[in-house]
Symmetry: D3
Subunit: 69 residues, 6 copies
């Protein structure tokens, strides 16, 4: 599957924290940068996400803001 989302950043899962319905997945994308993703528990289960997995953080361009200063 190829997807329209402009931002597809490879990394490795460093932490999966499950909540009641929502999980946080933290992905080390290199250069000292960790990206945090908030997704459903069902998605975590379906993809079998766990620490050490190679994954891709996917972000639509319209969800990226720019800050300065």
């Amino acid at each position: 599957m190829r997807i329209s989302a402009r931002n597809q950043i490879k990394g490795k899962v460093v932490e999966v924290t499950k909540g009641a319905t929502t999980s946080h997945v933290r992905v080390d994308v290199g250069g000292g940068q960790v990206i945090t993703s908030s997704i459903t528990n069902e998605a975590v289960d379906e993809l079998g996400l766990k620490k050490g997995d190679n994954v891709i953080a996917v972000i639509k361009a319209s969800d990226v803001m720019i800050a300065v200063g």
Copy 2:
């Protein structure tokens, strides 16, 4: 200003493309990764964004998906 968004990734603007109302700003965040942001022309003007600027790509955790495979 500090903001709740979990993902704040430093980089350098490599391209600003203005449309009729919407601009695309491409930011080199290192490691060969370029992040594309879609924001209003007004935001580009107000921040004076141009090639070479040091900026921060800001992304809310709930806007990040995870892909595998």
Copy 3:
């Protein structure tokens, strides 16, 4: 590639309208329902999207609201 997004709806492209930077892609997902997607022109070009293509509309669960009445 498998992605965490809970909603992946198969359909067929019925219209691609390109703007200055942003395109609208309309996808017939059956049952008389057409889904409209707003994505970058670059994404349309990269995926080579055109009328008649079989595609999947992908939507993160946190971007779906519920209305009644």
Copy 4:
């Protein structure tokens, strides 16, 4: 109330799962397709959402991605 969101898909609630602050509402929209929505518990309570309710899944066009393959 009429809303600008381009995607308004009629369906029937098949499951409401409440978490600590966030609920998941699953809506059968026909054709074997179920849409998952992640909304606040407060919204579920205010709309009185429960299994069997006729609802509309509402999605802004800029939150829809396109995948192929």
Copy 5:
């Protein structure tokens, strides 16, 4: 129609700017605050939006960030 979105702010349209595919609608919500919305041209046409209209700005809670300082 009632919708799950937690934020529904009444105001008056002060400006509609149409682009090639995307419009910007600015809404005065009182107290000197103007909210900018980026929606499709189709939505503007369908709702017949124009300066002076009484409207509601609708925002899902998961799309609101908090900043300090």
Copy 6:
């Protein structure tokens, strides 16, 4: 830090509700209007958000819909 998001609305925190992973922060922005934000618990902790704090609700223009009627 200045950010591209078009909507930056000043207010005062009236309630912070922590869930398992996701918090809801309610902000009184004046004129009888309260804005609800859904953010990570980590963001609440990092910003030290509590009732009475002066904050800014930040919303990207592409996340604002318009309703009428």
